[in-house]
């Protein structure tokens, strides 16, 4: 259990007055309050640390104890004695609710010294019901996995959640799952769980919104004379008719062969194929001779 320097957390020195502590708390709370820093785990952690530090330092009795034993908390016997006394006092102060963000998650260090929350740092009083904190999680998926709607079981804070992931969900898109966040305070409703999807694309296709893009090699002879070419789409192969005299960089659109459109069942974007003409290499003498002949024909 590491010693936590509450003065450092509040950016104060040990000689700070009560007014200094209050001022520091207000200043830092405005900086790190989770409502002002949504989906920012670092701010949330700092806000909790700040509340814990404020719980101790804003209470003259707790501050005295902390100043006396904080640096040398290995004097466990003395702590226990003090701790048990303060604990019984704190039980009478349970009317103060822990607000959405200020309660819970006290460090082991805090628990060992003060037993639990003695009062609310944010100044909320009464048996106020507050909705639980929203939780955030990230889920990495492969592009292939989000081509079809599928179910997945996630474990968030030790709880299994069966989740339907709709086809076509986008990279960095966040889905809110109501009621699966932190439990409410004093019987308030649970918070929500926000899941951010990180979609990795390891395919040969490029995805832009719901459209897919792919560059396909086309041999010179087929480009000139035309013919058939089998190309990959996201869900299988299709045969394309190549027009004679197809130019390099020609694009064709395969309607409805793109990516599924989010929450629009059966609707898909388009697949755009760009032809890249490959010229033959390692020509034989005969081939060179024929190409020269062709060249001469074009020139005359």
């Amino acid at each position: 259990m590491a010693f936590i320097d509450y003065y450092k957390i509040m950016e104060l020195d040990k000689s700070a007055s009560e007014a200094d502590i209050k001022k520091a708390y207000r200043k830092l709370a405005r900086k790190y309050h989770p409502d002002l820093n949504p989906n920012n785990a670092e701010s949330e952690r700092k806000f909790k640390e700040l509340n814990e530090a404020n719980e101790v330092l804003s209470d003259p009795e707790n501050r005295k104890k902390y100043d006396k034993y904080g640096n040398d908390w290995k004097h466990a016997d003395q702590f226990e004695k003090q701790g048990s006394q303060s604990h019984s006092q704190q039980r009478t102060a349970q009317d103060y609710s822990q607000g959405d963000f200020s309660g819970g998650d006290y460090s082991d260090f805090f628990e060992s010294m003060f037993g639990g929350s003695s009062r609310n740092a944010g100044g909320r009083a009464g048996n106020t019901k507050f909705r639980g904190q929203d939780l955030s999680a990230e889920l990495k998926l492969d592009l292939k996995e989000v081509y079809e709607t599928h179910k997945r079981t996630l474990t968030v804070n030790g709880k299994n959640i069966r989740l339907t992931i709709p086809a076509g969900v986008k990279n960095n898109q966040t889905i809110k799952i109501s009621g699966h966040g932190a439990p409410g305070v004093n019987g308030g409703p649970n918070g929500d769980l926000n899941i951010k999807f990180i979609i990795e694309n390891n395919t040969q296709f490029k995805l832009d919104n719901d459209n897919l893009y792919q560059t396909v090699d086309l041999d010179l002879y087929k480009a000139i004379l035309g013919g058939e070419l089998t190309v990959d789409t996201f869900d299988g192969k299709v045969k394309l008719n190549i027009k004679a005299e197809t130019q390099n960089g020609t694009k064709v659109k395969l309607k409805g062969k793109g990516f599924p459109i989010y929450k629009k069942e059966g609707e898909f974007g388009d697949l755009f194929i760009t032809f890249q003409i490959k010229t033959p290499t390692n020509l034989t003498d005969k081939e060179k001779e024929l190409f020269t002949e062709l060249s001469n024909l074009r020139a005359s």
Partner: protein, 97 residues
Amino acid sequence: MNLEKLIAINELCKLYNVEISFFHSLNESGLIEILTLDEVHYLHQDKIYDVEKIIRIHLDLEINVEGIDVIINLLKKIDELQDELDSVKNRLSIYEH
């Protein structure tokens, strides 16, 4: 109007330990919409999440209604910009690979 989906402002005042004038100030500034039925003021239950956020900002940070209005508007703008940034990043990744 479905009364089951409405919560009396008086109840909310007791629940969150705030003055009724605070709710009226929020209503006047357009941050919430108070509905009145038979002279009783209500808030729609779908707005509870927003109201709780406002109350936390008000009580934890001692910010008045005008300040909250500015914060909520800025948070909305941040949210919109974040969405736009995500969309632009997704498009940019097409050209980076």
